[in-house]
Every structure is written in C-alpha cells, then in structure tokens.
Amino acid sequence: MLQHRPRWWPSFTSTLRSTAMTARIGRLLGIAIGVLFLTGLLSHYQYEPWRWLPVPARPVWGYRLTQGIHVATGIATIPLLLIKLWSVYPNLFRFPPLRSIRHALERISIAILVSAALVQVATGFLNVLNWYGFGWFFVPVHRFLGYVLVGSVLLHIGVKLPDIVYGLRARVSEADVLTEIPWNENPASHSNAGTLADPPTPGISRRGLLAAAGTGIGVVVITTVGQTVTPLAPVGLLAPRECSRGPQRVPVNRTAEQAEVGTSAMSANWTLQVVGPKPYALTLADLEPRAVHQARFPINCVEGWSVGAQWRGLSLLEIVKQAGGTAESRIQVVSLEPVGYNHSFVVGPQLGAALLATHLNGERLDLDHGYPLRLIAPNRPGVLNTKWLSRIEIVS
C-alpha cells in the first residue's frame, strides 16, 4: 500500500515523536479531562441540586477548592492539549486517508474529539476572562460540550487501547518513531524489528521535551493560580484576577452599573420584603441592630478566583423564622437586578449558615458588592450569593 503514496504526500522525519511519548502525555491529558469533568459536574450540582440532597455548608471552602481546581486544571490543559496534538500530528497524514469504513468512523470521531477539546478549553478560558464574543450562552453549551468531549475521550481510549498499552509499556527513549505510518505496520518500528538501538534525537530528547513542556505548564500554573491560592498572588504574573485590588479587597464579577441597580440600591426608602405565612418588611434602619452575626466565608466565583473574607450581617434563618418559616423551608432570595442571575434558592445546611451581609472586611458593603444587603453562604458559587437583595420568599 505504501508504494502507492504520491510523491508530494507529507512525510515526517523527526525521531522525536513516539507512541511511548504520546501515551504518556495522553494519560496526563485524560486525567486532566477527568478532573475537569468531575469538578464541572460538582459545579453544575450547585446550580441544580436534587431536593433530597441539598449542597452541604461544610467545608466552607469546598467550592473554592473544586472550582479552583477546575479552572487551574482547565488553564493547564490548554498547553497540554496542544502538545498532545503536536505529538500525533503525523497521524493526520495516514495513507490512504481512508482505508475502511471503520477507519473513516475513527477519523470522524477524532475530528469531533479534537474540535470539541479545543473549543471547550478555549471558550472556558475566554469565559474566565469575561469575553463572551463566541455568541452563545456559555453555561449549558460548556456542560453539553463536556459530555461530547468526555464521550469522545472514552471512545478514543477504547479504540486506541492496544496503542496505549504498547506506548505505556515501552520506554520513552526507545519504542517506535511516530510518523505517518502506524507503528504496527512500520517494519522499522522498534516493536516489530526486535530490540533496536534508541532512535537518535539529535536536538532535544524525548525526555527533554516532556521536561520542557512540564516546566512550562508548571510555570503557567504557578503564575496564574494566585487568583485562587492567595499566598501565590504575589507571583501571579499571568493571573487574570488580582483579588486584592477589588473594592474592600474582594473582586466584583457583576458591577452595580452592569446590573442597573445604582439608583434602586442607593435609595433611602429601600426595604427588604420578607414573604411567608407572616410577611413583614425591614428598612435600612432595621438592619444595623440585627447585623450582629459574623462569619469568615470565602467568596468563590465559578470563574475560578476566590478570596477569604470576613462578613457581618443578619442570620437568614432568623429572618425566615420570624416570617413563619423553619430550617426545612425552601427560600428564594431576589435581587433588585431586573434581569440575569437575579435570584437564587437556599435550602438545607446552607440556610442554617447563610448571612444577609451588611459588612465586608469591616466596612459597610460596597455598592458593587451588593449594598445594602446581600446573601453570603459557605461552599456556594459567588453568582448564587445574590446581591442587592429586595425580597426573601419562603417558597415551601
């Protein structure tokens, strides 16, 4: 079959690529995608928990940890994915391009895998940077594309299992040279010709390449993860968020201006309506004497940044009990914000721990942090800690 290859067909001469190396990079990438999938599902659960299994309130840093891992792993996955794709690029030029229906199906599944992986990590990172120019609603597409991606990864592992086993058993420095000819059809491949001397890699060695890529990815992690791991903030040369530069040393994700609440939130006639069996209202003057509960909860955004903060405010459960609710009630908190993520539900352990915060890090809440009153509960994404509250409802 090989002799029919046209003269102009690309051929790869570098001895750097090998199935042994690809299998090792792929193993790491597979683990990374698994971590992304699990932490992603956990994050999704925060938005749509089952009634009988409410999100726990402890550990208070739970979501900070899982979503911090999700975003840090996602950022590290971008170069890892590119290196993996570099290592198998000659496979794109297999000859003949399609040898059977099975081979055609495999190539289609690879195309789905590669494009889904690239778009998933790229749009995930762009979302972290608050760039929404891709033009679709990020959250559901990211989740469903995640299913497509993980499905194609499982399919890919199943199809390639013999290559993966061969690659992981072989030493990185020996094994085959990965070219456009598959190792098991290549008579010069180490597995088919008995034991050969290590192929010469006159430039960087295979181990050298893995070390360089690993070091580069390590530097990326160290210089970006400061937006989540506060002690590393000073070396956050490439960190998207610089948490300490936000008002009251906490970043803002949605500003009062974006939410169009400037006038309504600053109004002296603001009231909090508490709706339940015994409805009542609280005015600004009513807040201060009741804002005696303190808690140290991190604020952790779905976009990965997080920072510890000291909160003071009213106990949500006390407010709810006064209106005739109980610790088992399902509570909806509603914002002055007219559209968007302007409400959220609080149930179970989080209801017992939640504060309606008036103070952040010792100061009266900044307008951009939700003045005059916001929800803050432990182990909960920032976007569900509704700001600029106007109404508390006992739903059931």
């Binding site: 590119l82 690029y89 940077l129 594309l145 497509v148 499905g151 299992l161 006159p202």
Partner: protein
C-alpha cells in the same frame, strides 16, 4: 482487553450521543450554528495553520542550528510557547473590564517579556556551562594525547 475496549467504546458513544442530543434539543439554532463554525474553525486553525507552522519552525531549526545548541533553543522555545498561549488572550483583552472586577489589570505583555527573559537567561547559563564543560573535556583529552 477486548471487553474493556467494548465497554469504553459503548460508554463513550452513549455519552457522546447524550451530549449531542442535549445540544440539539436545548440550545437555540443560532447558537448551534456559531458553535459549529467554532468547532470547524478550531480544526482548521490547529491543523492547517498552527501545526504546519510548528513543523516549519522545527524544520528550519534542524537545518540552521547545530545539534548541541538546538537542544537548548528547543527547550526555551517550548516553554515560551506554552506561556505565550496563555498570556496572549490576556494581552489582547487587558483593560477590557471595569476596574472593580480586578480582572485583566496587569501588564501581561511586560510580565510575559519578563518570564521569557528569565527563561532565556537560565537557558543561556545552562548552555554556557555545557559549552565550558565540553571545552574542558576536549582540552583534557588533548592533554592526555588522545
């Protein structure tokens, strides 16, 4: 291994189909068209622009830089490429957000330049040590009359 392969392939196909089904039934057509364009563009940009460019750079290096020095240059270039991929979108989007978000405020171009400088410095140092050691070894072998 055969049983494992069948399980993996079936599980993969199921999850893949589930994802496609959810996309097609829950995402508006306009968004799906844009997503389709992005998926296709990702393949084209990666397979037809970026990868040939990388192959071209390797090919050029192999023909222009001697083996000993090339090893260190490749080391540095791989690390620089990894950092640049992450820094580039932030360089472009810097300052695009309200300051209270504390987002994209840093001078990412300068920070990337600093990191590249550090990588270059460390690589040059290690290369210098290598050159000196080779020269020393060469002198030693000449002294022994080899």
């Amino acid at each position: 291994m055969k049983a494992w392969r069948i399980i993996l392939v079936l599980a993969g196909l199921l999850l893949l189909a589930f994802g496609v089904f959810r996309l097609l039934t829950e995402i508006p057509t306009g968004s799906l068209i844009k997503l389709g364009i992005w998926l296709l563009a990702a393949l084209i940009i990666h397979d037809i622009l970026i990868s040939p460019a990388v192959v071209g750079v390797s090919w050029t290096l192999r023909r222009t830089v001697p083996d000993r020095g090339r090893r260190y240059l490749q080391w540095a270039l791989i690390m620089i490429a990894v950092l640049t991929v992450i820094a580039l979108p932030m360089i472009v989007l810097r300052g695009s957000q309200p300051p209270v978000k504390a987002l994209l405020l840093r001078d990412y171009a300068a920070n990337l330049a600093l990191l590249i400088g550090l990588i270059a410095l460390v690589t040059l140092l290690i290369y210098g040590v290598r050159v000196a050691r080779d020269r020393h070894r060469h002198t030693a072998s000449v002294d022994r009359g080899e």
